[in-house]
């Protein structure tokens, strides 16, 4: 067993565990912290795939910026321990949900196992692809159009957030 497999296992199990902790924790702050842990695990996974830039961005943007916002909101809304998140879902739903999710996982695993050539090697130029330079190059040459279009997407989301947050309808009109 080489180091790659060991690292992958650690990060993968960690990612799944922290994701489960995120949705099952009844304390909002603990939930948010689990999510931070989850993002770190994902960053680790990216690293094992030689995608340094993505890993760094993952930590900076998600675990850093976005989660700070989330925690701020939790604090501002003053969702303490007393105010727990939702009451537990019904047992039936939990069972059915886990069952279908399990089934989905099973099917996916079967599909991967059934792949005739398997998935045990990285593409040859993976080392180059993951670098800042390579990503910058493809974003600003080949993928320029979708990259610029994403700015429209962000703009729409931004305006949407402003609309939903406005206090009264009459202020704007």
């Amino acid at each position: 067993m080489n180091i790659q497999v060991i690292l992958f296992s650690v990060f993968a199990i960690g990612a799944v565990a922290s994701a489960i902790a995120t949705i099952s924790s009844r304390n909002p702050v603990a939930s948010a912290m689990s999510l931070v842990a989850h993002f770190f695990m994902l960053a680790g996974l990216y690293l094992t795939l030689e995608a340094q830039f993505v890993a760094a961005v993952q930590v900076l943007v998600y675990a850093g910026a976005i989660m700070v916002l989330v925690v701020f909101v939790i604090l501002l809304l003053n969702l303490g321990k007393e105010q727990q998140l939702a009451e537990r879902g019904s047992v039936i739903r939990l069972t059915l949900g886990s069952f279908t999710a399990g089934l989905f996982a099973l099917v996916i695993i079967l599909a991967l196992v059934a792949s005739p050539t398997g998935l045990n090697h990285l593409a040859m130029n993976a080392v180059d692809i993951g670098t800042t330079e390579a990503i910058g190059q493809s974003l600003f040459t080949q993928y320029l159009f979708p990259f610029e279009s994403v700015s429209l997407l962000l703009l729409a989301a931004l305006i949407g957030a402003v609309i939903l947050a406005k206090r009264s309808m009459k202020e704007g009109a």
Partner: protein, 478 residues
């Protein structure tokens, strides 16, 4: 790299108008200048639409093969812009009545049109994804635009949660396709798939299914349709009108392109028949569930929502067929459906009252007496939706049914015809209420205003497309 400036004009114009000029106008002009923004965005859509119409014959690709130009994509642009203009004409008075007219609404509407155009033009899965998200995010916001209404917010939230859930599968599918074929570009992917040289056939199949699922959610096909009635009912009616028509057409434009790529999986364990069968089953179930459930509805918006689910089922038949004829049938039906459904929803919006009432089918009794013109238009839309000649809906259905038969899906056509017989029940139910019932003593006051233009266009189009379907099919033929 040769660059087709003329062909890419529609995309560039809407991009600049939205992302550069529009923002500046909104940022620097006085905050109560809704009129200006309104006019500006209508102008934007009209210009884009005209440019699209002008570039239909100007086929090619641009931006390094990321987008296709002209052809079907341009025809779809015309549809999106047209529907957008009609929705905007109806929206001003509607939002005003509900005291919710913010100029951001129009920004959102145009940005959703931009998203749709990206979807139709995409020749690369990344562009498709950005388009889908741009459209969806605009829709989420528009659905929740009545922030003081619980239903509106609830519908936005539901749409967002379920939409995000579906997007997960969509992206997963794209990733698997990339893994299996090593490319995101449609044409390259098609070559790999058709040659049967994909590295991981299982992943290819899995990716194709997940992509299908993601798109099926956007068109509200069974079993991914549950959100549609709730969202369509809760959202502001003009928004429902727009997203249930142009939004669906956009999803189909993507469906057409994507299935052109992933369908020919003949060499991969003969996946094509299986995929076709899966789609055929989805299509049959969708139209049956949609039509049968609509029978029992008492709320007009909800009834139309289920009917829109059913129509997604019909349109899928063209995709199932996979032939050129099937594809042009889908395009034709997208137009026919847009006009009739948009018109119907606009009338619902006009009659709707500020306290969220007048939405029941029983509220429409005797409408003919008070608003003869609305009732007549509504009747035309209902007949067309039910597929009665000579209206556009009939011809569209006819083409779709024929396409399915031609590809050997006789059973699917029989299901479709049977379910369209069932659908007559509830479409006629509304007409019977409007024409053959005593008027409701409570008066509904309604003024068409600008929405009258949209309604007139829809009515004329529904009739004209039925009499001269070549208006649409001719655009594709050349």
């Amino acid at each position: 790299m040769n660059f087709d400036i003329l062909g890419s004009l529609p995309l560039i114009v809407i991009w600049l108008a939205l992302g550069v000029v529009g923002i500046i106008i909104q940022a620097f002009v006085r905050s109560d200048s809704t009129r200006l923004v309104y006019g500006y965005y209508i102008g934007t859509l009209v210009t884009t639409g005209l440019l699209a119409a002008a570039t239909i014959s100007n086929q090619g690709t641009a931006f390094g093969g990321m987008v296709t130009l002209g052809g079907w994509a341009a025809v779809f642009d015309l549809l999106f812009c047209g529907a957008g203009v009609m929705a905007m004409l109806a929206a001003q008075a509607y939002l005003g009545r509900f005291n919710s007219e913010l100029d951001e609404f129009y920004t959102m509407l145009v940005s959703s049109v931009a998203g749709m155009m990206l979807m139709a033009h995409a020749r690369n899965l990344v562009v498709l994804f950005v388009g889908i998200e741009l459209m969806s995010i605009s829709f989420y916001i528009m659905a929740g635009f009545f922030r003081s209404r619980d239903k509106s917010l609830e519908s936005a939230m539901k749409y967002f949660l379920l939409g995000a859930f579906a997007t997960g599968f969509l992206v997963y599918g794209m990733a698997l396709l990339y893994g299996a074929t090593g490319t995101l570009d449609y044409s390259v992917m098609l070559k790999v798939i058709a040659a049967g040289t994909a590295r991981f056939p299982v992943l290819l199949a899995l990716g194709a299914v997940l992509l299908t699922i993601g798109l099926s959610f956007k068109i509200a096909a069974f079993p991914f349709h549950q959100w549609a009635p709730d969202v369509y009912e809760g959202a502001p009616t003009v928004v429902t009108a727009f997203m249930s028509t142009a939004g669906k057409a956009a999803a189909f434009s993507a469906f057409l392109a994507v299935f052109g790529v992933i369908m020919p999986m003949v060499k991969v364990a003969s996946m094509t028949p299986t995929l076709q069968l899966v789609l055929a089953v989805i299509s049959a179930a969708t139209m049956l569930i949609g039509n049968i459930t609509a029978v029992a509805q008492t709320n007009v918006k909800r009834m139309l929502a289920y009917s829109s689910v059913a129509h997604a089922g019909y349109m899928l038949m063209g995709i199932v067929a996979g032939t050129t004829f099937g594809q042009s049938a889908v395009v034709y039906y997208a137009f026919a459906y847009t006009f009739m459904q948009l018109g119907a929803f606009i009338i619902v919006g006009l009659l709707e009252r500020e306290d969220e009432t007048s939405l029941m089918i029983s509220d429409y009794s005797g409408l003919y007496r008070k608003h003869g013109v609305f009732a007549a238009m509504m009747a035309v839309f209902m007949f067309s939706l039910a597929g009665i000649p000579p209206f556009a809906g009939f011809f569209g259905k006819y083409m779709l049914f024929y396409a399915a038969i031609e590809s050997g899906f006789t059973w699917l056509t029989i299901v479709a015809v049977a379910s369209s017989v069932i659908s007559v029940w509830f479409y006629l139910g509304l007409i019977v209420k409007m024409y053959f019932s005593e008027p409701n003593p409570e008066t509904h006051e309604a003024n068409a205003g600008l929405a009258g233009i949209s309604l007139a266009v829809c009515t004329v189009a529904v009739i004209l497309l039925g009499i001269m379907p070549r208006i649409i099919t001719g655009m594709l033929g050349n």
